[in-house]
């Protein structure tokens, strides 16, 4: 079974986000970029399926700028077999990404597609669902456990108040939740080998998809700065401050 994994290059999640001074967008100049953490989990799951003998080939795909090849190489170092880069400098929205992915699915005919449940830059949480709608494939979102048994896919999902287990026919779409697995580190010999693995570059035009943005970003505001706390000297002072400054008691 061929597994297709979609990954995204995003701002490293430990980086403190800065907003551009004109508030037009997040400032990405010289900021550390990394693979979206949920996508790392997706790659890890695909590689584990291959190690278990369930998957025969793992193909990673990204839609993004040239620099995103860095994340594809990382995925190859983590164990993916080959990569497809749909190159564009446009800001890609969920629907555009889902359309491009639908084309790749059509071409590659994977038995399973794994995506992160959301990308931490825009937090949309919809690409996987849109891809399922466009391809007409069944979907198991927010997976915390994935197993293939007798040609069917069992997906355990964390829902409010417990776990839900779904059984899906293959091919299917899965989106990963945080507790699905703990991604491995890229090992040196594999990083070296990854440089030689095939990486195919495609364009939106040759896939026949339109990626131009349909949503206009108006303004980005940083969250309000939290004020530093103070230490009060006594209970009386605390009560005084709660009364007269915070005005939460009277």
């Amino acid at each position: 079974m061929k597994v297709l994994v979609a990954i995204k290059r995003v701002i490293d999640y430990n980086v403190k986000i800065r907003v551009k001074s004109d508030h037009s967008d997040v400032d990405l100049t010289n900021v550390k970029m990394a693979m979206n953490p949920f996508c790392e989990i997706a790659v890890e799951e695909a590689v584990r399926l291959k190690e278990k003998g369930v998957a025969t080939e793992v193909v990673v795909v990204t839609i993004g700028p040239k620099a995103a090849q860095e994340q594809l190489r990382t995925a190859l170092a983590l164990g993916a077999d080959r990569a497809i880069h749909v190159e564009t400098d446009l800001r890609v929205e969920s629907l555009g990404a889902a359309r491009a992915l639908a084309k790749i699915v059509e071409e590659q005919q994977p038995g399973l597609v794994i995506l992160g449940k959301q990308a931490i830059d825009t937090d949309n949480n919809q690409t996987g669902q849109m891809l399922a709608a466009l391809t007409g494939l069944p979907q198991g979102t927010f997976a915390s456990e994935v197993a293939v048994e007798d040609g069917r896919l069992r997906v355990t999902r964390e829902i409010d108040g417990g776990l839900e287990t779904l059984e899906l026919t293959l091919p299917a779409i899965v989106t990963t939740d945080l507790r699905l697995n703990e991604p491995r580190y890229a090992k040196l010999p594999d990083i070296m080998k990854a440089k030689k693995k095939p990486l195919e570059v495609r364009t939106p035009a040759d896939l026949g998809v339109e990626l131009a943005s349909r949503i206009k970003l108006l303004k980005v505001e940083p969250p309000a700065e939290r004020q530093a706390g103070i230490k009060v000297g006594s209970v009386d002072e605390l009560i005084d401050k709660l009364k007269n400054e915070a005005k939460v008691i009277s």
Binding site: N14, K16, K32, A34
Partner: protein, 479 residues
């Protein structure tokens, strides 16, 4: 009883002179100021003074003079040699700089800042990072230690190989002297040869010559790209060969190069049981390497190129490269967890030695074999800032050992290490200073001329021996 009454009366007089707010009188509240970081040693003091600015520090010093009290300055109390621990409770006060934590100025054009001595290192670093500035001093205790303490111990840490010890990061100082006068040496000039460079006297003086109240620090541009890798290597010898190679291959952009034995994983996991193991744990030794760059230089390419070649030449057996900051932090957590893991194993010998880098591997192999031979029941671990020729060679007694047995084993191991160290022209204190813990070794090592110079300095600057007596040199009762 009489002594107790005297101490109470001194406390009251301090309050009269300095005000209730500055003086911590309750012995119960002295506790965090009167024990060492490991919790192995506790002490007591007449009082803890917490001045809020330089004027209040000067007033506190004058008050102590009036009452004939000695002063132990204290920053974050993370020092590892008992330098900030009072040893004469009936006549010493702890003067904590913890309330002096203002950043007086930051100059982005000069790449400098003037900060008060009580600034917590990590808070300072984070604040500067938001402005694209980097204060390179980086060490395990940075969440608690304070810049005045860092200067007073000339702290090192993991970035020394690229940026130097604290001494190299200090442009100027403001110091309250033993007579209560203030020396304003807060220049931010990079070049200033107006006579003898006085600030150097106070850097690494461990509070024996003056009380540092503010520091002008040298900043660097914040590196934009940091690559971190954990490598399995054959032994310390190849680790050092790798370091030599890395400096040349990466245009001297290696910012950390730490060495660890395989026991690092066990020790770190004793402190943090769910720490992930990113690499097989049966290589003979490990290196944690960091390369950082800005501008057009691609640290990732440098790292991968370096390691590819190093693997071909068998300098590296295996390794992982962090792909995100989260992974990089996990790799550092192993190195940092080692300290906590050892602390959990009870009292043990901690050393902080350096020898010339070219002879470090031979030294560690030789003393390692000697220790294994003489003290087979103990676990000897060598790890640390190997790029600087600095290792912590620690000896951990077996689990069941009593305190007395531990003490004997520790003394025995210490003697063996110091003996071997002499042969290698090494230092028994690479980073941590002398404090009260290493006084005997210091006394044994210094020449008569060296001693005379130090005593002359002390007499000239603190003639009443009021500042941290008992630290570095034995207390001399001059009055």
């Amino acid at each position: 009883m009489e002594a107790e009454a005297l101490v109470t009366s001194l406390r009251n007089q301090l309050v009269d002179l300095l005000g209730q707010d500055t003086v911590v009188t309750e012995p119960h509240d002295h506790e965090p100021y009167c024990r060492d970081w490991h919790g192995d040693m506790t002490s007591a003091a007449v009082a803890v003074l917490r001045p809020r600015d330089t004027g209040e520090v000067a007033a506190a010093v004058r008050a102590c003079r009036t009452l004939d009290l000695d002063i132990v300055a204290q920053g974050g109390n993370t020092g590892l040699v008992l330098g900030a621990l009072p040893d004469r409770p009936e006549r010493q006060v702890v003067l904590s700089l913890e309330r002096m934590r203002h950043i007086r100025s930051i100059d982005e054009a000069d790449f400098s800042a003037i900060v008060e001595a009580g600034c917590v290192l990590e808070e300072l670093k984070l604040g500067l990072e938001e402005r694209g500035l980097f204060f390179p001093l980086t060490l395990g205790a940075q969440g608690s230690c304070r810049i005045g303490g860092n200067v007073s111990t000339n702290a090192g840490g993991v970035n020394v190989l690229r940026y130097g010890m604290t001494r190299e990061l200090v442009l100027g100082l403001e110091v309250v002297l033993a007579d209560g006068s203030v020396w304003d040496g807060l220049s931010t000039l990079r070049k200033d040869n107006r006579g003898i460079d006085l600030k150097q006297l106070f850097i690494g003086a461990e509070g024996t010559l003056g009380i540092i109240t503010a520091v002008a620090i040298k900043l660097s541009p914040l590196p934009e790209r940091i690559e971190t890798a954990l490598l399995g290597v054959g032994d310390l010898h190849t680790a050092i060969a790798l370091y030599r190679h890395a400096r040349r291959a990466c245009c001297d952009l290696v910012s950390a190069f730490e060495f660890m034995p395989p026991s690092a994983f066990t020790l770190a996991r004793e402190a943090q049981p769910d720490l992930p193991l990113p690499i097989a744990i049966d290589y003979p030794a490990y290196v944690l390497i960091e390369i950082s760059s800005s501008g057009l230089i691609d640290a990732k390419q440098l790292m991968e190129g370096l390691l590819e070649q190093a693997m071909e030449e068998s300098l590296v057996l295996d390794g992982v490269i962090a792909t995100s900051q989260a992974q990089a932090r996990q790799l550092w957590a192993i190195r940092e967890g080692m300290n906590e893991g050892q602390a959990l194993r009870g009292p043990h010998l901690r050393t902080d030695v350096s020898v010339p880098l070219s002879r470090l591997a031979a030294f560690v192999a030789e003393i390692g074999a000697e220790l294994d031979d003489a003290l087979p029941q103990c676990l000897a671990v060598a790890y640390g800032h190997v790029g600087d020729g600095n290792v912590h060679l620690n000896v951990l007694p077996p689990a069941g050992a009593t305190l007395a047995e531990r003490h004997t084993l520790i003394e025995q191991a210490k003697k063996m290490i110091n003996f071997r160290l002499d042969h290698y022209h090494g230092s028994f204190s690479a980073e941590h200073g002398i404090g009260r813990l290493k006084r005997d070794e210091f006394e044994h090592w210094i020449s008569p001329v060296h001693r005379r110079l130090l005593e002359a300095l002390k007499r000239a600057i603190d003639p009443e021996y009021r500042l941290n007596p008992g630290c570095q040199l034995p207390p001399i009762t001059a009055r």
